[in-house]
Amino acid sequence: MSTATEAMPDYPRPFKAFWQGFAANRGALAALLLFALIATAALLAPWLSPYDPIEQFRDHMLTAPAWAAGGSRQFLLGTDELGRDMLSRLLHGGRVSLGIGLASVLLSLLPGVMLGLLAAFHQQWLSPAIMRVMDILLALPGLLLAICVITILGPGLVNTVIAIAIGALPGYTRLTRAAALAEIGKDYVTASRIAGAGSLRLMFITVLPNCMAPLIVNASLSFSTAILETAGLGFLGLGVQAPLPEWGTMLSAARDYIERAPWVITLPGLTILASVLAINLMGDGLRDALDPKLKKIS
């Protein structure tokens, strides 16, 4: 027994190994910091923002940011066309945009994993049925599928989450199925099966933990896609409805002031770009750390 322990090479613990891989990517580390900043700001929005995000200061419509000509300290990032404080709206908008992103990732991850595992474990009947439905969903590219769902359900916050989640579902299902199929034939699964493990145990306890790496990477990518799609739907007037602050919706309202008040365009867009960029860079880092095989693909 003791000889066996001595012979074991000194592997780093899983989390430490993961962290080393992740931190080796400087960009990912910086992105993590940036994202933490954005997420904290969004989380603490009610305490950080100087004003109510929907309060209209009718005497201060389209006030420039503090550093620009005509700006005042009263509104650090200026005001929009209805005299609402930009900073407060951006902070509260973060809660909406990141919240929708997170909710839609969960709402597509859980059913997607479930369906993928079912497809992998029931290859005769369920698999073709599930995968054909996913093919149909995949035939409509992201935003268009979301638009289709919104047409049926109507615009709004919850419906935006549902629409985006449906679009992300096929990705998770396909990934889980492929990863699970690669694991199912391995000896440890057979051993577990022979030892009498039920199919639920095989699915969730034996196989699923070994399929997590690509799923986590995909989750980070679909999180950033969800933020972009939320903003896109908001911009088209099909997403979150006014007066609720959401980055895309803010841009949609600001289009008419492109000449007079550039800050109502630049600021929400920069916020979206910064968040999406941070998440994508983090995703690259996650992929490097979790899935070295995928590293060379991009």
């Binding site: 439905v133 638009i147 049926i152 950033s224 088209l236 867009g269 994508n280």
Partner: protein
């Protein structure tokens, strides 16, 4: 090769049936009575209502309705717009070339620049150029399309006045419609200034739409190039004393293109989705803008057709890519 194409076509049948079911279900899934939903605020007297139910076949069983819809589709009948009273297929035929022109230009831009930048970045791995290109690619990939459009309009159209803000061509030109592609038609018309006007209108939207695809193609080309450069046959080619240009272009690039091709195929999806946003920003009269306008007008037959057409386009392009893939890489055919 022929059986490979047939097999690919056969796997599409369930998807095609599914897509028509989705499009068919669209009107019927909207909560409430479809006719009242479509007519909106207007009060309908029951007789008109009953007549409409009958004319749309909504009194028939669902299965009958679906097969009638399918039958109409096969005859090229996409229904009738509630707003313009024109056949949807006719409106579509007028708008589709605009979207294709925009998407193709964007794709061309993305592939040409993406291949070049990706290849050079791969060859100069780790250099400042490589890091710059990859950094820009990550930003381009993360860019919200509609905001990018607004920023470019703000800079090039509003501040510098270089490009027009919206539309496909200045109104003073009345170009005869030959192909529906304005770039081609305006060139054929020979009218002075028409071509450059069409080009100036096309440039900004195409750049906006092509940005994320450009980023993806550049990233993919670079990594695929890096992989191929490690292969034995590249070393052999070098050892034989071939010129570096010949090694890269003839031996490495050709093989590196295979994965890039798949990525290009997948970009059609994001181009179609991006077209909806780009066309809305630039008031580009294509099917993306048509779709969004129709949703706002509750013109559901048009929405139904728009969704169906987008899906069919996406499927058709991916089919072509798959077949091309089989041509380029014989190993795929055997599987």
């Amino acid at each position: 090769m022929f059986s490979f194409i047939l097999k690919r076509l056969a796997t599409l049948i369930p998807t095609l049936i599914g897509i028509t079911l989705v499009a068919f279900g669209l009107i019927r899934l909207i909560p409430g009575d479809p006719i009242e939903v479509m007519m909106g605020e207007r009060r309908l007297d029951p007789e008109v209502h009953a007549a409409m139910v009958k004319s749309m076949g909504l009194d028939q069983p669902l299965a009958t309705q679906y097969f009638r819809y399918l039958g109409n589709l096969l005859h090229g009948d996409l229904g009738q717009s509630l707003v313009s009273r024109e056949p949807v297929a006719k409106e579509f035929a007028a708008l589709f070339p605009a979207t294709v022109e925009l998407a193709l230009t964007a794709l061309l831009l993305a592939v040409a620049l993406g291949l070049l930048l990706g290849m050079l970045a791969g060859l100069k791995r780790g250099s400042l150029f490589d890091q710059g290109v990859m950094g820009m690619a990550t930003v381009g990939y993360s860019m919200p399309v509609f905001w990018w459009g607004l920023i470019l309009i703000m800079f090039f159209s509003v501040n510098l006045g270089w490009t027009p803000v919206s539309g496909r061509i200045s109104i003073e030109y009345d170009v005869a419609r030959v192909s529906g592609f304005l770039l081609l038609d305006s060139w054929l018309s020979g009218e002075e200034g028409a071509f450059s006007s069409a080009l100036a209108h096309l440039l900004l939207p195409a750049v906006v739409l092509g940005t994320s695809s450009l980023a993806v193609v550049a990233r993919m080309t670079r990594s695929s190039m890096l992989e191929v450069l490690r292969e034995d046959y590249v070393r052999t080619a070098r050892a034989k004393g071939l010129s570096p240009v010949r090694v890269v272009v003839v031996h490495a690039l050709r093989n590196a293109l295979i994965p890039v091709l798949t990525v290009v195929g997948m970009q059609t999806g994001s181009l179609l989705a991006g077209a909806v946003l780009t066309e809305t920003i630039f008031s580009w009269p294509g099917i993306g803008k048509w779709l969004i306008d129709s949703i706002a007008r509750r013109d559901y037959p048009v929405v139904q057709a728009g969704i169906l057409i987008s899906a069919l386009t996406f499927i058709a392009v991916n089919l072509c890519v798959d077949i091309l893939y089989g041509v380029v890489n014989p190993r795929i055919r055997a599987q």
